[in-house]
Amino acid sequence: MSEMKKIKNLKEFSTSADRFEGANLLCPGCAHSIIVREILNATNDDLILSASTGCLEVCTAVYPYTSWDASWIHIGFENGSTAVAGAEAMYKALKRKGRLKQPDREPKFVSFAGDGASYDIGFQWISGCFERGHNIMHVVLDNEVYANTGGQRSSSTPIGSSTTTAPAGRVSYGEKQNKKDMLAIMAAHGAPYVAQVAPNKWKDMIKKIQHGFAVEGPVFINAMSACTTEWKFLPEDTIAISDLATDSLVFPLYEIIDGTKLNITYRPKNVIPVKDYLGAQGRFKHLFKPENKHVLDEWQKRVDEKWEYLQRREEAGV
C-alpha cells in the first residue's frame, strides 16, 4: 500500500497537480468537475478510470481530445463499473503472473457514473461488482436527473422536481416518487465503505475518498452534483446551492462502514429550512404555489425523519 497523500489544509491541497484537464465541454459552473478534481487530487497513486455514459463522459473524451491524464475507458451507459472491474481483474491476473509493466505501483480503480447510470440502467452491473468484491470505487455524480439527455427524471429525482418526463403542469407538481436510497442498498451489499459527499465540503470529501482508497473491496460514493442547467440556478451559485443542500440536511453527509456502522460526518451549526434550498432552484419553483404547499410540508417532514433516522442509527452504532 502506497502512502496516503497528506492534506492538512486547503493551502497544502492546492499544491496538487490536477489529472483532470480544462477545455472539457462540461457546462460552466458544473459540479461534476469540482467533484472529479477533489477525488483525483485526494491521492497521488496511479489511477485507472472508467465513466458510464453521461455528461462527464461525453464532455471529456470527444475525439480528438481527452481531458484525462490517467488511463480511462468508456463502454456504455450501464457498464462503467464492470469496465473498471474488468481492468481490476486484469491487474490482479497480471500481478499474479508477474507481467505488470510497473509492478511496484498499485493503481486505484475508479468508476464515475451519473445517477441515471447508477440508480437506474447500471444498477445491476454495480450490484454485481459489489457482490463480487472488486477493489474498485464507484462514484455517483448525483445530479438527480438525466442531464446529459436534457433533463428526464431518474430514480434519483426527488419528489416535486419538475423534469422533462415528469414535468410540473396544471394538474401535476412534477415528480411523484421519492428518491431511491442507494446508500442503504449499497451498504446492504456489505461493502466495506459507503458514503455520501458534497463538493462544497471538500475536507469531508477528501477524508472519505482517502478512506475509500485505503480499504480493500468495493467502495460506493454518492456525490451530490448540483446541476446549474437542470436544477436551474446561475452557474456561479453551484457552491452556494451545495451549501444550502448540506445545511438544510437535504443531502446529509454520512458514511456506513462494513455495511452497518453509520457515522454522520457533518452537522450544520444552523440547520436551514428545506424551502430555502428548494426556493433557490427553478426545478422546484412551482412548489411555492399555494396548491403545492403540501409538497413543501412533505419535503420538510421527510428530511426531518431521515435526519432523525440517521442520528438514531449513529447512536445505536448499527
Binding site: 473524451a61 480528438p64 491524464d69 488511463s71 463502454i75
Partner: protein
C-alpha cells in the same frame, strides 16, 4: 503458475470441452462469463480448471452476459488475453457490447455455442445468434465438429491478437450437435498449444501506467465515419492474409488443414450446397454417397463468415451451375443470409448460376440425410434446366403444408 495437464493424443471431448481446453491451454488472463445453455459447460469446465490449479488467471463470474462482455472489454483494454463464451439470448444481451469491443479494436475471443432465439423459447441449436452478430465488426469462425472448435480457438487468438488485426473474434459451434456431442479430438500438448498462439503482446494497455490512454471516445459526424471506415477496411484487407498464415502454420504444426472456404467434391460438380456448422459434414457424407451413384454434387462450407470470403467463394463456385444456400436461421421477411450474400457474390460473375434457398433445422430440428438427397435432386434439376425448377425459398423439415416463397 498454472499446472500443466497431461492429455492423450486423442481425447473424447464434446465441443464445449474442446473449446474450454483450448482456452485453458492459451492461459487466458481474464475470463468474465455467465452461464447459458448450451455454452454453460465451457464456463463450468473453466471453473473446474481454476479450482484444480490448471489456470491462474482471473475468472469473474458476472451477473449477466452483458456484464460478461463489459468485463472482458475492460480487461482487454487493461492489456491481457481475454475470452468468454455464450449462446442465444445471452448473445443477444451482449450485442451492444460486441460493437464496442470491435470499435475499440480489442482482441476478445468469444465462443458462441449457437442456439435459437426466442420466442418461442428453445435451447437447441440453430444459427440465429450467429446471424445476429454478423454486422458487429467481429471476425467469425465456424466449427463443424469438436475438433474444429478446439483448433479454431488457437487460430482465433493468433489472428485477433495480431497487432495488424486487433479485432475480436468469435468461434461458433452448433449447440448440442457439436457442443454436447463427444467425438475424438486430436490434442496439442500444453506447451505446443501455448506457443502456437504465443505470449500476449499488449497494445494501448491501460495498465501501462507511464502511458495513460483514453479508450471509448465520443465521435460525431466529424470523425465517426473515418473510424468505422478504418475498421471496415482492416476487416476487408488485413484479416484474410493473417487467417491464411495462421491456417498454414497450423497445418504445418498439426497436419490439419483449414481453409477460409472449405470445398468437398466440388471439382467437377454441377450442384453444391453452401452451409455452415454440422450440416456441412452431414452434407459431405451425402455428397460422397451421391458421387458413388455418379451424381456430380459437392459441398461448400463457410469457415469464415466475417469477413465474408467473396474472392474465395467466387473461386470455389467456378463452374458450379446450381447452388443451394442452406440457412439455419429464420430469415423473417427476406431470403436467408447465405442466399443474399451468395447472390451478391455471384451476380457480377460471367457464369450463370441458379441460386435457391433452403431454410432448415430451426430450433435444433434434425437435418436428415434424406432431406439433403432431395435438395441435391432439386439442385441437379436446376443445373440441368439452367433456371430454378423449384420456388426460390423453401422451408424443409417443417410439419404442415409445404411452405415456400417466390
Amino acid at each position: 503458475m498454472a499446472e500443466k495437464m497431461e492429455l492423450r493424443d486423442i481425447e473424447v471431448w464434446d465441443g464445449n470441452m474442446a473449446a474450454s481446453q483450448a482456452m485453458r491451454q492459451v492461459q487466458i488472463d481474464v475470463v468474465a462469463a455467465y452461464p447459458i445453455t448450451p455454452s454453460t459447460p465451457i464456463v463450468e469446465n473453466y471453473g473446474s480448471f481454476l479450482a484444480n490449479g490448471y489456470v491462474d488467471g482471473e475468472f469473474v463470474m458476472v451477473e449477466s452476459e452483458h456484464a460478461a462482455m463489459s468485463g472482458c472489454i475492460g480487461a482487454s483494454a487493461a492489456g491481457g488475453r481475454v475470452a468468454t463464451a455464450t449462446s442465444s439470448q445471452g448473445f443477444a444481451l451482449m450485442v451492444e457490447t460486441l460493437y464496442q469491443a470491435s470499435g475499440m479494436r480489442l482482441p476478445v475471443i468469444l465462443n458462441v455455442v449457437n442456439r435459437a432465439l426466442a420466442a418461442p423459447l428453445n435451447v437447441n441449436g440453430d444459427h440465429s445468434d450467429m446471424y445476429l452478430g454478423r454486422d458487429s465488426g467481429w471476425i467469425q469462425f465456424d466449427a463443424y465438429n469438436p475438433q474444429n472448435a478446439y483448433d479454431l480457438n488457437f487460430i482465433a487468438f493468433r489472428v485477433a491478437e495480431d497487432h495488424e488485426v486487433r479485432l475480436p473474434a468469435m468461434v461458433h459451434q452448433d449447440g448440442f450437435l457439436t457442443s454436447h456431442t463427444a467425438q475424438g479430438v486430436h490434442t496439442l500438448d500444453d506447451d505446443t498449444a501455448y506457443s502456437f498462439v504465443g505470449d500476449f503482446k499488449p497494445m494501448n494497455d491501460m495498465l501501462d501506467l507511464d502511458h495513460p490512454v483514453t479508450h471509448g471516445v465520443q465521435t460525431e459526424e466529424d470523425w465517426h465515419f473515418e473510424h468505422k471506415a478504418r475498421q471496415h477496411h482492416d476487416l476487408m484487407t488485413k484479416v484474410f492474409p493473417r487467417i491464411q498464415a495462421a491456417f498454414d502454420a497450423f497445418e504445418k504444426l498439426t497436419g490439419r488443414k483449414y481453409n477460409i472456404v472449405e470445398t468437398y467434391n466440388t471439382d467437377d460438380a454441377d450442384a453444391v450446397v453452401v452451409c455452415m456448422g454440422t450440416a456441412v459434414e452431414t452434407a459431405v457424407e451425402v455428397s460422397n454417397e451421391l458421387r458413388e451413384e455418379g451424381k456430380k454434387v459437392g459441398v461448400i462450407g463457410i469457415r469464415v463468415i466475417r469477413p465474408w470470403p467473396y474472392d474465395q467463394l467466387l473461386d470455389a463456385l467456378k463452374g458450379i451451375k446450381a447452388i443451394g444456400a442452406l440457412d439455419r436461421s429464420s430469415p423473417n421477411g427476406t431470403f436467408g443470409m447465405l442466399y443474399n450474400e451468395l447472390a451478391g457474390t455471384v451476380v457480377n460473375g460471367d457464369e450463370k448460376k441458379v441460386l435457391t434457398n433452403y431454410v432448415y433445422g430451426l430450433g435444433g430440428r434434425d437435418l436428415l440425410k434424406s432431406q439433403l438427397r432431395e435438395i441435391y435432386a432439386e439442385l441437379l434439376a436446376n443445373a440441368e434446366a439452367g433456371k430454378p425448377t423449384t420456388p426460390l425459398q423453401q422451408l424443409i423439415g417443417v410439419r404442415g403444408p409445404k411452405i415456400s416463397f417466390h
